[in-house]
């Protein structure tokens, strides 16, 4: 006597039932397949976009920025950035060095400027940086399209510019670029590198040059900004800590600086999960329906199986295993289809939009999403198969046989 319900005989009976109703079984498999495929494609695509934006925006910009609070009189002279005094900078440096969630920080001298090439003129922003510090903040090597990275800024008159800005100004690596500062000072710099973060809002305006050079041009020894990279980005307690300890500074964090992107990511997450769940629910309901009908139609057979010695547990297994087989087939096929479609999307070329600069759609092929999709698919089928199976197992043979 087979002690376990999982045995060849019960499996054989289940398979016989499945293959006797090929069309229905196939439809159920397709239902799960569609659910899992959509889930995987959606999540691959949505998280791909999220990751892309995260990577471009949050790796290209600091998690926390510190500026000096502008006094009313400074505010009226809009174009002049306010300065963080050197004593304050040293004090903040000390605090940041001790803070456990600070991965790196860098000082910057930021100034608006008019950028002029041989043919064009645009307003832009100059980021005066200290190459050694900035290297820990931004991985520019990965973003570099042409020329050299931060190390070239040890040369006093070099400048790195974003790709969109370079295009608009019609300049290339090696060309010269004239800058006009708010105080009227002018200087001609040499473009030593062109980078792209993939986001127009950055690539259109950002430049990097030596902070020392900029300080000399602006005739000052102070900095304007302190940028902080966190170890755990979600944990921004350092912001409140600084606000409570140091006065006269204003502090911004990545969440409020990138509200639209943070909200966009959230919306995409919610969409992905709700659509996927809705689809799996529909697939699950399909399976429930099919199995439920089978159980109703097959009550007589179930009664016979019980008469000849099959237990309630055998009957549950016989029906549940049908759901599991449908779920497994649908989920595994769905994972392959999902991969295929995601792959096709990932090689589809994309017209560069105003916002994003990419060649193809960003897709995240993380294996755990495939596992999750398959697990969800199987879980839904088991759940939706359980109730009809339970119903089958409580069929009372006497009632059924009498009723015929």
């Amino acid at each position: 006597m087979s002690k376990h319900v999982f045995n060849k005989t019960n499996l054989f009976i289940a398979l016989q039932y499945l293959t006797a109703r090929k069309k229905q079984s196939l439809l159920a498999v397709i239902g799960v397949l569609l659910g899992v495929t959509t889930f995987i494609v959606l999540i691959n695509f949505m998280t791909g976009v999220n990751d892309f934006l995260d990577d471009a925006v949050f790796n290209g910009s600091p998690d926390i920025t510190i500026n000096a609070q502008s006094s009313p009189e400074q505010k009226s002279r809009q174009f002049q950035a306010t300065n963080i005094s050197n004593e304050k900078r040293v004090a903040i440096d000390e605090l940041l060095k001790k803070h456990s969630n600070v991965a790196a920080f860098a000082n910057q001298v930021i100034s608006p400027a008019i950028l002029t090439s041989d043919t064009k003129q645009f307003p832009g922003s100059l980021n005066g940086i200290f190459p050694k510090q900035e290297k820990k903040m931004v991985n520019l090597e990965r973003r570099l399209i042409k020329g050299k990275g931060f190390q070239s800024l040890s040369q006093k008159n070099n400048i790195l510019i974003g790709i969109s800005l370079a295009k608009r100004l019609a300049i290339d690596v090696g060309d010269s670029l004239k800058i006009i500062l708010p105080n009227g000072k002018q200087e001609t710099l040499k473009v030593s590198g062109i980078f792209s973060f993939g986001i127009t809002t950055i690539d259109n305006v950002r430049t990097y040059m030596s902070a020392n050079t900029l300080q000399t041009l602006l005739n000052k020894e102070t900095i304007t900004d302190i940028h902080i990279k966190l170890k755990e980005r979600e944990d921004i307690t350092v912001k409140t800590f600084l606000a409570n300890t140091v006065s006269g500074i204003s502090i911004g964090d990545w969440k409020e600086n990138n509200k639209t992107i943070v909200i966009g990511n959230k919306v995409r997450d919610i969409l992905t999960w709700s659509i996927s769940f809705a689809l799996l629910l529909v697939a699950g309901f399909g399976i429930y329906n099919i199995l439920n009908n089978t159980v109703i139609q097959k009550r007589k057979d179930i009664a016979v199986l019980k008469t000849i010695g099959y237990s309630s547990r055998d009957v549950i297994f016989i029906f549940l295993v049908q759901a599991i087989i449908i779920g497994l087939l649908g989920a595994i096929l769905g994972a392959f289809f999902g991969y295929g479609i995601s792959y096709l999307i990932s090689i589809t070329s994309l017209d560069t939009s105003d916002f994003i600069i990419v060649d193809t759609y960003p897709i995240n092929f993380k294996p755990s999403y495939y596992l999750l999709g398959v697990a969800f698919g199987i879980l839904t089928t088991i759940l939706s198969g359980y109730f009809p199976s339970k119903k089958a197992s409580i069929v009372d043979p006497v009632t059924i046989i009498r009723g015929l």
Binding site: T307, I308, G309, V398
Partner: protein, 223 residues
């Protein structure tokens, strides 16, 4: 003694509490063919379902092969039915998704003590004795009523149970097929030495059984 029932009482609650079996006692030994007859509604089927352990909601004692079935768990009862009881219905009740041979094999596959090859061989021998070997590979629904009933008898015998119960096994058959089924039941009793209890309206059967019991309003009367 294969089966010993003592003071079996059965009530139905629908539409109100009413007694259907009234203190039935019955003993059946190996190689004995017992028929139960009586008016429609007298309680024959009700008794057979109880003897088959399909209906456990009754009062009184039921011993089969020396075991008190009331003391068994429902899984143990399933196993017990599988090994010790063969049941034949009025309507043959083969599973249409399965071939004739597979239908006969289902109880044996559940029992799972012999190799598949051996089981097939035994099932084919049984089908041969029932005159059904030629149909072994057919889907079971492509058989006549009489043919299906013979397959159902083969299915009841495959695990070599001690007790065969049949509820109007000829109720749905013409006289020729009825005769054939009755001969099979007699053969099972005499040559295989099994205890057979048949509920029937067929006078030929109750006239030719080892013992015939008449059932009147839930009471058994020896005739």
């Amino acid at each position: 003694m294969i089966l010993k029932a003592k003071d079996i009482v059965k009530y139905f609650m629908d539409p109100e509490k009413h007694q259907v079996l009234n203190q039935i006692s019955l003993a059946v030994s190996d190689g004995e063919l017992i028929s139960i007859y009586g008016e429609s509604g007298s309680g024959k089927s009700t008794l057979l379902y109880i003897l088959a352990t399909l209906d456990m909601d009754f009062e009184g004692d039921l011993m089969i092969k020396g075991q008190n079935v009331k003391e068994m768990s429902s899984t143990a009862l399933s196993d017990f039915r599988n090994e010790q009881i063969g049941f034949v219905y009025q309507f043959h009740h083969l599973l249409p998704e399965f071939s004739v041979l597979q239908n006969v094999l289902l109880p044996a596959m559940k029992r799972n003590i012999k190799s598949m090859e051996q089981l097939r061989e035994e099932a084919l021998i049984l089908l041969d004795e029932m005159g059904m070997k030629a149909f072994a590979e057919r889907p079971s629904y492509k058989l006549s009523g009489g043919q299906q009933q013979r397959v159902a008898i083969a299915r009841a015998l495959i695990n070599d149970p001690a007790l065969i119960l049949a509820d109007e096994p000829t109720g749905n058959l013409d006289s020729k097929n009825s005769e054939m089924v009755f001969e099979l039941l007699q053969e099972i009793t005499n040559n295989r030495n099994k205890a057979v209890v048949v509920a029937t309206h067929n006078s030929k059967i109750y006239a030719n059984s080892d013992r015939s019991l008449e059932m009147i309003d839930g009471i058994i009367r020896l005739s």
